[in-house]
Amino acid sequence: MKKKSKGKGYYALCGALIGTVNGLFGSGGGVAAVPALKNAGLSVKESHASSLAVTLPLSAVSMAVYSLGQDFSWSDALPLIPFGLAGALIGGLVLKKISNVWLKRIFGGLLILAGGRMLLT
């Protein structure tokens, strides 16, 4: 099935939505961006790569707004970064080969448990 490529308006509308979600929740921009980009006719690989290209500058802007009010301290985040980079590197090298269907199910299950717990407590 070949999809028509989408225009500037589609990208702008999706971008506005992705930015708002990502700013409001401090995460989740990628979850909105990947399907939006797939829908625009990009391949799966391109959609994942491009979703980061969109969410990176948007996260930087949101981070700046959060920083204005000193809502969090950089010293809590900085020590986590090397571990995140190591994880990303290992994930990129090794796990790309593994089917991520089960990974998504486990991740989804964890989110449902966590979301439910957060709502109840």
Binding site: G19, G26, V54, S59, F72, L78, L80, F83, G84, G115
Partner: protein, 141 residues
């Protein structure tokens, strides 16, 4: 502290797989490490930037990112990011946590319902990789 590093590591792996790991890091930080919702979100945003930067550089070199059509998305997204962040900062933190929990539940259901058929390219790639591995194993034997 060890568990925070561990959570950051796992989040990095998930992020590289495109399985939105940031939400898990926020959940860890609020449920287990005692941060409030807004702080956890801020920490995740800062944490995400270098990881995404590295990935974007690699993907751009591999020509997986066509920047031109993304420009309107980024431009409009910046406006959205400012609005979303301001809302997050000024609404009640407990309310923010509740909305976040609902968002997490919705994404959880969506991920559970994910089927391989939704991702034909991945299915094809996995078959190719597994055949290659089998061949490789024979060679080593």
């Amino acid at each position: 502290m060890f568990w925070s590093f561990f959570a950051a590591f796992i989040t990095g792996i998930l992020a590289s797989l495109g399985v939105g790991g940031g939400m898990l890091l926020i959940i860890y930080l609020t449920v287990f490490a005692g941060f409030d919702q807004l702080s956890a979100q801020g920490i995740n945003l800062l944490y995400f930037i270098p990881i995404a930067l590295l990935a974007v550089i690699i993907h751009t070199r591999n020509k997986l990112i066509n920047w031109r059509p993304l420009i309107p998305a980024i431009a409009a997204g910046i406006v959205g990011a400012v609005i979303g962040s301001i809302i997050a900062r000024f609404i009640d933190k407990e309310l923010l946590r509740t909305i976040f929990a609902v968002f997490v539940l919705v994404i959880g259901v969506k991920e559970i319902l994910y089927k391989k058929q939704d991702d034909p390219e991945l299915a094809k790639r996995n078959t190719a990789v597994s055949t290659k591995n089998i061949r490789g194993n024979f060679k080593t034997i």
